[in-house]
């Protein structure tokens, strides 16, 4: 496979994942804005922070009001992480790697782009927002379904999955990091209604409310949430889950190519660290410090993958 093709697949799936994650962030922020109007502005600010686009946002807007944030995250072409930019970048990468995709996958991503471009042609009215956010999630599921149902399990599939999980791990870690203060046992007042809403928001933004309840009943605690999203290998958006998937796909590549890679070492080290850690240990280190380290290692892993498989040269 061409290095460029591997890189195109990687970025195509990173951006698809990003568009879905951004939609979920908006969904969670919107929920708070509806239920706790007085907390709305802070919540929108934290959504922008989580999406990693604070500087870009403040260049265009003075205030974290809902309409500006939603428009910036959904439609603004100046924001490379907006849903519209992300789906366009994903689709351009899909065109670049067209020969590595089945017709079904290509058509799914091309159709998503057409549908979302049309849906996001004009600013989205509040009344239409839930429908549009649902549409974004469904389109994303469509591409994923086509990928799973039709693609050969070879290196092409591995690079697609690696992009997905690297992006997802980054996203979950950032959601936790931006909200880390509400999860700190020492500061949060257990049982206060503000915190309950905040915690629920975290679960909502990773589509984890239902799974969390299955595991813990209605006992929503900061420790429980942190453990769920950092260490629980059954939760498909947890750090542990993403790293184990990355590790799996990278070791398939190692086996297929019959070669050792620096990125395999990195991911194994990251996996070992997570499996040896308990949630108590995480809080001892400091949740924020732990997440900062993780984000750094995750980014370094991405850079090493680019280099090991010659995405650019």
């Amino acid at each position: 496979m061409l290095g460029k093709t591997a890189g195109g697949l990687f970025w195509m799936f990173r951006y698809l994942e990003r568009s879905e994650n951004t939609a979920r962030l908006i969904e969670a922020g919107f929920r708070i804005a509806l239920t706790r109007p007085d907390a709305a502005k802070d919540e929108w600010a934290s959504v922008v922070e989580t999406a990693g686009v604070r500087t870009a946002f403040l260049e265009r807007h003075d205030d974290f009001d809902g309409a500006s944030v939603i428009d910036f995250l959904l439609r603004d072409k100046a924001n490379s992480s907006s849903v519209l930019s992300a789906i366009e970048t994903a689709r351009n990468n899909a065109r670049l790697v067209r020969t590595a995709l089945t017709r079904e996958v290509w058509e799914a991503v091309n159709e998503s782009w057409m549908v979302l471009k049309e849906a996001l042609r004009r600013p989205v009215r509040e009344a239409d927002l839930p429908g549009i956010l649902g549409l974004i999630r469904r389109q994303s599921a469509l591409v994923r379904g086509a990928l799973h149902g039709t693609m050969l399990r070879n290196d092409i599939f591995d690079f697609a999955r690696i992009g997905t999980f690297l992006e997802r791990a980054d996203n979950t870690a950032r959601i936790l990091d931006v909200k880390y203060y509400v999860l700190l046992p020492s500061i949060s007042q257990i049982g206060s209604s503000l915190d309950n809403v905040q915690w629920e928001t975290i679960l909502r933004s990773v589509a984890g409310q239902r799974s969390y309840r299955w595991l813990n009943g209605t006992d929503i605690t900061p420790r429980g949430i942190a453990e769920f999203l950092v260490l629980d290998g059954r939760m498909p958006r947890s750090l542990a889950f993403c790293v184990s998937k990355l590790s799996g796909n990278l070791s398939y590549l190692k086996k297929q190519y019959g070669h050792d890679y620096a990125c395999v070492e990195l991911v194994e080290k990251l996996g070992a660290e997570l499996s040896e850690t308990s949630i108590e240990g995480v809080f001892e280190t400091g949740l924020h410090e732990f997440l900062t380290d993780f984000l750094r290692d995750n980014a370094a892993l991405g850079a090493q993958i680019e280099q090991d498989f010659r995405f650019y040269g």
Binding site: L2, K4, R95, R98, T99, N110, E111, R310
Partner: protein, 475 residues
């Protein structure tokens, strides 16, 4: 008022009954509900969009992707008509390859005085770098698209030879695919020759010309300028269906006298490069130094037998519009036979007598730029306004040698499904020809382009043309 007397309609005879190749189709059509067909027609458009069969338009805001409109009425050619066409095409393509070999070696045709020396030596399409280079298998034009027009029952003319990087073959294939999906019942009634194996034939044909340094089965790759090129869909389509890598210049470099592509596991040599990049951009060390689309050093590798470039650099000298007018002589010179397919009479405006004639008859002629393509910079005299004629006259007089003129041909018509039902529109035809050392392989079909505007003679997609599926009937 009625055009039917002036133009040959391929579907109906003068008495209104269908011509033989269209009889079964017309039988089917007369039982169809126009509304249902219209719905099908819209479905086809959705299908094309979803599949991404679009072309990019240069110089337009937002890098718009457009569809080439598709018309569902097929263009049907009988087996007998096709047999005659293929004979003529084969003869012509053989002559083109012989001409290219000669022009880059001994130049016998110039010594014999059959074409003027300066037409070659002063032509930008002639590449001195190719002098004395024998391409693998002596094949210059691996892929040729011959543009044909029809003016009567037995009258076909070659309008243009496309010997550089002819495009449009993906439309031939996808048009058929669309028709098969929409009207399967038609294909069980009517025996239409298959076109879908074109990519396999292309791969076979390219693999039959490996360079001398090939080891094992030839590795084939398609070189594209990238996703912003107007024909990118076609490049990826062909690579996909041939099972070849789709590469860009920056994926390639010269290693140990070979062209190698950067893979996830290191650099791997390529044997045959089907390039969809123009000569000028192929090698910044040899041609345009600013080109980022090509591969620095590829010409040296080519000359030393490290790679096959398809089509060979320098083939443009064979499809130049000024050379075109000499094609009957060229065919006769190399094959010893009269040309089977006619050339359109052509006035070279660089010649003072011809120029005078062209200026006197501008409103009846079609005038084209020698190096133009895509229907740009072209004058269709009978359709032009007084102002347009005057403007073009000035351009023509400023640089006569830049133009050729031809009579306005009475292009045949095939109906399209218009608002009111079937309505005749002018068409041309581009069959695709594959050349390998042992064989000239013509896929039975081609790209039929149709001028969608009533009365228009310009079929180019950039000028509002559409396409049709082209059927060659089998026994």
């Amino acid at each position: 008022m009625d055009d039917s007397a002036r133009f040959f309609d391929e579907l109906r005879k003068h008495d209104g009954t269908p011509r033989r190749p269209y009889e079964e189709f017309c039988g089917w059509f007369s039982n169809e509900d126009i509304k249902r067909l219209k719905t099908k027609s819209r479905e086809a458009e959705t299908f094309f969009r979803r599949t991404g069969i679009t072309f990019n338009v240069y110089g337009q805001a937002e890098a718009d992707e457009r569809l080439i409109p598709f018309d569902i009425v097929p263009r049907i050619i009988s087996e007998r008509e096709w047999a005659r066409l293929t004979k003529g095409i084969e003869q012509r393509v053989r002559a083109i390859n012989a001409f290219l070999y000669d022009i880059y070696h001994r130049q016998e045709i110039l010594r014999a005085g059959r074409i003027p020396q300066e037409l070659i030596s002063e032509n930008d399409a002639f590449l001195p770098q190719m002098i004395g280079v024998a391409p693998p298998g002596n094949v210059y034009t691996h892929i040729v698209g011959v543009d044909l027009v029809r003016t009567g029952e037995d009258e076909f003319f070659v309008l243009e030879d496309n010997a550089r990087t002819p495009s449009g073959v993906s439309y031939m294939l996808e048009n058929r695919e669309t028709m098969l999906q929409m009207f399967p019942e038609l294909f069980s009634k009517i025996k239409v020759q298959e076109v879908s194996n074109y990519p396999t034939r292309l791969r076979r044909s390219l693999s039959a010309c490996p360079p001398s340094k090939t080891e094992g089965a030839p590795v084939v790759a398609v070189l594209t300028p990238g996703i912003h090129n107007s024909a990118y869909f076609e490049h990826s389509f062909l690579a996909d269906h041939m099972g070849a890598e789709l590469v860009e210049g920056h994926d390639l470099r010269v290693i140990d006298g070979r062209i190698a592509m950067r893979t996830t596991r290191g650099y791997r040599p390529i044997d045959v490069l089907y390039r969809r990049v123009d000569d000028d951009y192929l090698d910044p060390l040899t041609f345009n130094p600013d080109s980022l689309l090509g591969v620095p050093g590829i010409m040296d590798v080519y000359r030393s037998g490290g790679i096959t470039i398809a089509n060979a650099p320098g083939t443009g000298i064979a499809d130049d519009k000024a050379i075109y007018s000499y094609m009957p002589d060229i065919i006769e010179f190399y094959t010893g036979e009269k040309a089977i397919l006619q050339n359109v009479p052509t006035w070279r405006c660089g010649d003072p007598d011809s120029l005078a004639y062209v200026l006197d008859n501008l409103d009846e002629l079609v005038v084209k730029e020698v190096h133009g393509s895509g229907g740009y910079g072209m004058l269709v005299g009978p359709a032009a306004s007084k102002r347009e004629l005057a403007k073009f006259r000035a351009k023509l007089m400023a640089k006569p040698s830049n133009y050729i003129a031809q009579p306005t041909l009475a292009l045949s018509t095939v109906p399209i499904l218009a608002k009111e039902g079937l309505s005749p529109r002018h068409v041309d035809l581009r069959p695709f020809v594959l050349v390998s050392p042992d064989k000239i392989d013509i896929t039975p079909g081609g790209l039929t382009r149709v001028a969608l505007k009533k009365g228009s003679l310009v079929v180019n997609s950039s000028q509002g043309g559409g396409t049709k599926d082209t059927w060659v009937l089998g026994e």
